[in-house]
């Protein structure tokens, strides 16, 4: 039971972070494509902005890994 709860916790940690990243990337992506249609030279900036929220899911991954490694034994 305890192992199951840990797994659910780890899953929630990365899953919720992934949803947040997806939400942020969706907003940035649509605005970015709009900007690129006007100014194609902004490609590098748009990729950079699009990649920024990924830190959230990486932090979620870190928390999930900590749950499994530190609490799961």
């Amino acid at each position: 039971m305890e192992v199951g709860l840990l797994a659910v916790g780890a899953g929630l940690a990365i899953g919720l972070a992934a949803i947040a990243t997806g939400y942020a990337q969706a907003r940035i992506g649509s605005a970015g494509i709009g900007a690129l249609a006007e100014k194609p030279e902004l490609t590098g900036r748009v990729i950079l902005l699009l990649a920024l929220p990924e830190t959230l899911v990486i932090l979620g991954f870190a928390v999930a890994a900590m749950i499994i490694l530190l609490l799961g034994g």
Binding site: T43, G44, R45, I47, L48, A51, L52, E54, T55, I58, L59, F61, A62, A65, I68, L69
Partner: protein, 625 residues
């Protein structure tokens, strides 16, 4: 590295202006500066006279016409024939172009017919079942209409209106042609044609309008004729295209003419950047310092002492253009650096560093011997195939070739051959760790790589700030470095990797670093200093993606192997092959994006000075590419 630039003024007698411009254009090594933006030029800007403006307009028109004609043929010969004289070219174009343009017009007409006829056939085929035999009665017209099923009531209104107009001397036959559409055929006396047409125009119905040649033909015959025409059209189009191509191929000089017209236009439009009096002219521009002697030689050849090159003073607010020049292995990474924005003149060119770290991180993430070999094979194939047709793509394939080499190396380190297949079949063991099982060492390794990479970035930031004499940035970078080293030491002590005695000095270093960060920013630093510290931690933790993407890749490969082992051998090989292909596709895309992001955000953020102006030499277009 960034090529050093020298600002020059090319000064000469007005009679040598044309020859000088042509020589500079051929050399393709000067980035022109508009004299109105150059404080060191006292001559007024050269104003183009009406003749020159007229000449530019004429040449543009001629070039547009030639390009329009050349675009009609997709099979152009190599331009080996010299361009005709301008006068001859004009006469030739005036004579021949109308003929080709007429053929092109005919081609467009046929293509439109080929596109629209199937629509008419479909409409008529839906209406034909509604047609009674009486529709072709002498003295009567047949109109077909199609309308949305939701607006079928319109037919009732039409019936009432026609009754009022023709007192029952008409017929409407309607029916459902498909779920969304209702069709109707209206038979009316020819004498009332005008009234009927205006009535149908007022009602919200779509009249089926056939092309002129089918208008007076019974619907069933029209369908047959249209279908026959549809088989003839592709043949006519192909033969017409061939005729147009033949006409254009007969004038290979036009291709050369288009290029030389473009060059002439470039030279004419460059005139407005120059300064001039009635006797002298001055061209101001940036020249890569190593090419200074070449420019001086070119200019000396133009006129005997009538044109000279001199080095011009640079005002503090002037920004020289940026030209990157790296060794052949690092050159394909230049576009990746510039994708963000070109580096500022005088700052550090990070291309070589990117060449070292980008493929390394890529390899750490994908890390599989077979995937690496496959990727390398694809990169080599692309390189060979595009060497002549697209040199830029061929050059860029080197990025993936390097990435493939690192993928193989890390594959050996992690003992991965198509995921765990090497272990399953040949009992292959990793040199260092198995990524499937040893999660903790992999995470620590990723963070250590991040700490080292970010520290290098901060150290480069200190170097750049010192070189550009930016005291504020220098202080901020030193503060960041101290905070980073302190934080890492604290973590080291906390996980028992460093002696406990280091804790106090580590905390002290973090405090000193943070205070320096705050001091450099002024009062607002109280807020931004601690935020910077948190950002720094986030930057290092961001490198966990190396482990995360790697683990995802390992597990996908494992899933492929597990699925492959379920059924018979032949089916297993196909399924596993498909899954591995998918994993390889994902495994190439994702690590590329992530490795780029680690560079742009975490690494470049610490030292990179962007917003540079790219060096754009005044020269023939094809050489710039």
């Amino acid at each position: 590295m960034l090529v050093p630039m020298t600002k020059v003024h090319v000064i000469g007698h007005r009679r040598q202006l044309q020859a000088t411009l042509e020589a500079l254009h051929r050399s393709s090594s000067i980035h022109l500066i508009d004299v109105t933006e150059d404080a060191s030029v006292t001559l007024p800007p050269l104003s183009a006279d009406d003749d020159q403006l007229q000449q530019i307009e004429d040449l543009r028109y001629l070039k547009a016409r030639i390009d329009g004609l050349l675009a009609l043929s997709d099979d152009l010969p190599s331009p080996v024939v010299p361009a005709p004289e301008l006068g001859d070219l004009r006469t030739e174009i005036d004579e021949i172009a109308p003929r080709i343009e007429e053929l092109a017009y005919e081609l467009t007409r046929l293509e439109t017919e080929l596109e629209t006829l199937p629509r008419h056939v479909r409409s008529l085929e839906r209406l034909v079942p509604l047609l009674p035999e009486l529709t072709q009665l002498e003295g009567y017209d047949t109109d077909a209409v199609i309308l949305d099923a939701r607006h079928a009531a319109t037919l009732g209104e039409l019936n009432v209106a026609l009754n009022e107009l023709l007192a029952g001397n008409f017929e409407i036959i309607s029916g459902q042609v498909d779920t969304d559409t209702v069709g109707a055929v209206i038979v009316t006396p020819k004498s009332a044609k005008t009234d009927i047409q205006s009535l149908l125009g007022r009602q919200q119905v779509n009249r089926v309008r056939l092309p002129h040649r089918y208008e007076s033909v019974p619907f069933r015959d029209a369908i047959t004729m249209m279908k026959r025409r549809l088989t003839e059209l592709p043949i006519e189009i192909t033969s017409l295209r061939e005729r147009i191509s033949d006409e254009i191929r007969r004038h290979p000089g036009w291709i050369t003419a288009s290029v030389s017209l473009a060059e002439r236009l470039e030279q004419l439009t460059a005139l407005r950047h120059l300064g001039a009096t009635s006797h002298t002219f001055v061209v101001s521009g940036w020249v890569p310092t190593p090419q200074l002697a070449k420019i001086a030689g070119i200019v000396a050849d133009v006129g005997t002492g009538e044109v000279i090159v001199e080095t011009a003073p640079i005002s503090p607010d002037e920004r020289p253009p940026v030209l990157m020049s790296n060794r052949s292995l690092a050159r394909p990474f230049e576009p990746l650096v510039s994708l963000l924005s070109a580096p500022q003149y005088g700052s550090l060119d990070p291309t070589t560093l990117m060449m070292i770290f980008l493929p390394l991180f890529f390899g750490m993430m994908l890390g599989d011997v077979v995937y690496g070999l496959l990727l390398g094979g694809i990169a080599l194939y692309v390189r060979r195939r595009t060497r002549d047709s697209s040199p830029a793509v061929s050059e860029f394939s080197k990025v993936f070739l390097l990435a493939a080499i690192w993928t193989v190396i890390w594959g050996v380190v992690f003992g991965e051959v198509l995921g765990d297949l090497g272990h399953r079949l040949f009992d292959l063991e990793p040199i260092w760790i198995n990524r499937e099982e040893a999660l903790q060492p992999l995470l620590i390794f990723s963070i250590a790589v991040g700490a080292a990479h970010v520290t290098l970035g901060v150290a480069l930031g200190i170097w750049t700030a010192g070189r550009m004499r930016d005291r504020k940035k220098l202080g901020t970078s030193i503060g960041t470095l101290l905070a980073l080293v302190g934080l890492m030491s604290i973590v080291g002590v906390a996980v028992d990797r460093l002696p406990d005695g280091l804790m106090t000095p580590a905390v002290a270093v973090v405090v000193v670093g943070t205070v320096l960060l705050i001091a450099m920013e002024g009062p607002i630093g109280l807020l931004t200093g601690p935020l910077e510290l948190m950002g720094l931690t986030g930057n290092v933790l961001s490198y966990l993606r190396i482990a995360a993407i790697g683990i995802a890749s390992v597990y996908l490969a494992r899933v492929a192997n597990e699925l492959g082992s379920l059924g018979p051998l032949w089916l297993g090989v196909i399924i596993a092959g498909l899954f591995h292909a998918l994993n390889l596709a994902l495994g190439v895309f994702s690590p590329t994006i992530q490795a780029l992001r680690l560079h742009y955000v975490e690494f470049f953020g610490k030292f990179y000075e962007g917003e540079g102006v790219p060096f754009e030499p005044f020269g023939p277009l094809q050489r710039k590419e």
